[in-house]
Amino acid sequence: MWRYVVRRLLLVIPVMLGVSLIVFLLMHFAPADPALLMLGERATEEQLLTLRQEMGLLDPLPVQYVRFLGRALQGDLGRSHRSNRPVAAEVLSRMPATAELAVAAVVIAVVIGLPIGIISAIKPYSFLDHASMFMALWGASLPTFWLGLMLILFFSVRLGWLPASDRQGLESLILPAVTLGVGAAALIMRMTRSSMLEVMDQDYIRTARAKGLPERAVIYSHALKNALLPIITVIGLQFGSLLGGAVITESVFAWPGVGRLAVEAIRARDYPVVQGAVLMLALAFVLLNLLVDLLYAYINPRLRTRYK
């Protein structure tokens, strides 16, 4: 088991190196001169050249990348062109808000998706099953930003029940979490149904029924327990995806997370912040996927025995 853990941990390194290279190159070729952004339009050519030299922008590209990587490994992601604050500090200060939103969205997704998926599987091809699968497809087709605006329209503007923006307590978390969670709920619904149907087709379920066990016991003690493994994997992976998906939701609700920081930085052409925000989100995504893989290997008795 430890060999598998070490191997998976080591795989994270080349992936993150690749991500850092992509992000560095893309930001390097972005259409903006950092020296011009910092000194303004009135700066002379000589001043711009001096600042570019000081910032190392005139060095060869590989040298710039190695310098960037070296600093990043020490936690230094540069400084924001707008605020002059360290990028790492800005991004880290926003992470808790994004994590809070992602956790709340996953909770909502599981609370909605899991029971409906189970009921669909228990009564396959019934009206309830067709209706819930249509709902799942509809949920997957909803543009997140539009759903968010419609929820704001009804619950904040028309009814005045919930706040439309900012992070002020549990009430302000509901609408953004529902907006972000609906798409994930749709996927969990379908995955749960698919996984349960596959398990309920197995011989041991047939045996359990033949033994005269009550249907409730067959479903919850036998089928669901075995169907949960792939479902838990999907839920874990969704959590990672939601970190990226939160970008749009945070913009709609002015939620002070990393996603909104990245969007604001793009608009202001503050590329060190864009770089830092994207890197941190990618790292969180990769580590979460790693955790899900390790958890799956641990709780799946077949894999646990294989890796012992």
Binding site: V15, L26, S141, L149, G245
Partner: protein, 293 residues
């Protein structure tokens, strides 16, 4: 004997194809999806003739009018007819969807084919690059690419297609791996067929089925991603009518003129739903075992 086997194989293929079409036709939701997609495509192609007004013609005295007889879906903050802008916006959305997926299918299919066919180091290299791309959530990667290239619909297409490439590369690679070691491939090699011919004539057709399904579903994903990028100002630039940017500008008028944001969003949702219904229907028709799941 050979002639009979050949005939049987042709008859078998024809029967298989007619079964596929029969199953697809009987799926009412998939047919609904097809009808909606057909209508949207017609709207996109014949937009200049179908739209009651020019999508960019401003009429400030008529700004923010609710739906009514002169403007069926109302007007926006510049007095532009929303229905006309939605019809013209279908062009942008469908173009982004089909172009992005088409480019991703070609790029991803090519890479997946190389990786699966040659295996070893090339497979490792290509799949690790795919892993790196997949390590960035789709919308983040697309955002970063558009930031580097500059805002605009064409750059959005490039960004979305790059983020979709790994999915198709994996599908094709998986299909190639199942077929690569089979006898008929060995026979083709022994008869002197080049690698390119083997890949094109024998291996690629085996990956059509999963690719078609992924492609149909991918168009929905591409349209949603492109609309998201336009919503945050990275996609189509004003005054180009595009559903995501229409929604973005409608945000400021949610309280007083909610129709400005509502109708473009409905258009996006309906399009994505139709494509997803069609994709699901394709999957069920191609592999009836999926219906059990």
């Amino acid at each position: 004997m050979n002639k009979n086997v050949k005939q049987a194989s042709v008859v078998g293929k024809r029967r298989g194809r007619s079964d596929f079409w029969r199953r697809l036709r009987h799926n009412r939701l998939a047919m609904f999806g097809v009808a909606v997609i057909a209508l949207l495509t017609m709207a996109a192609v014949f937009a200049p003739w179908l739209a009651p007004y020019s999508p960019t013609a401003q009429n400030l005295p008529q700004r923010l009018q609710p739906p009514g007889p002169t403007h069926l879906l109302g007007t926006d903050d510049f007095g532009r007819d929303i229905l006309s802008r939605i019809i013209h916006g279908a062009r942008a959305s469908l173009l982004v969807g089909f172009f992005s997926v088409g480019a991703a299918l070609v790029g991803g299919g090519f890479l997946g084919m190389l990786a699966g066919y040659y295996g070893a180091r090339l497979d490792n290299l290509i799949m690790r690059v795919m892993d790196v791309i997949l390590a960035l959530p789709t919308i983040l990667l697309a955002m970063v690419i558009v930031t580097a290239l500059g805002p605009g619909l064409f750059n959005v297409m490039i960004a979305v297609s790059v983020s979709l490439i790994p999915n198709y590369a994996r599908v094709v690679r998986a299909a190639v791996l199942t077929v690569r070691e089979q006898d008929f491939i060995e026979a083709a090699r022994a008869s002197g067929a080049s690698d390119l011919r083997i890949m094109y004539r024998h291996i690629l057709p085996n990956s059509f089925d999963p690719l078609i399904v992924q492609g149909a579903l991918g168009v929905a994903e591409a349209i949603l991603a492109a609309a998201s990028l336009s919503f945050i100002g990275l996609g189509a630039q004003p005054p180009t009518p595009e559903w995501g940017s229409m929604l973005s500008s409608g945000r400021a008028f949610l309280r007083d003129a909610p129709h400005v944001a509502t109708f473009p969003g409905l258009a996006i949702m309906l399009t994505a739903l139709a494509l997803n219904l069609f994709g699901d229907g394709l999957r069920d028709a191609l592999d009836p075992r999926w219906r059990r799941r």
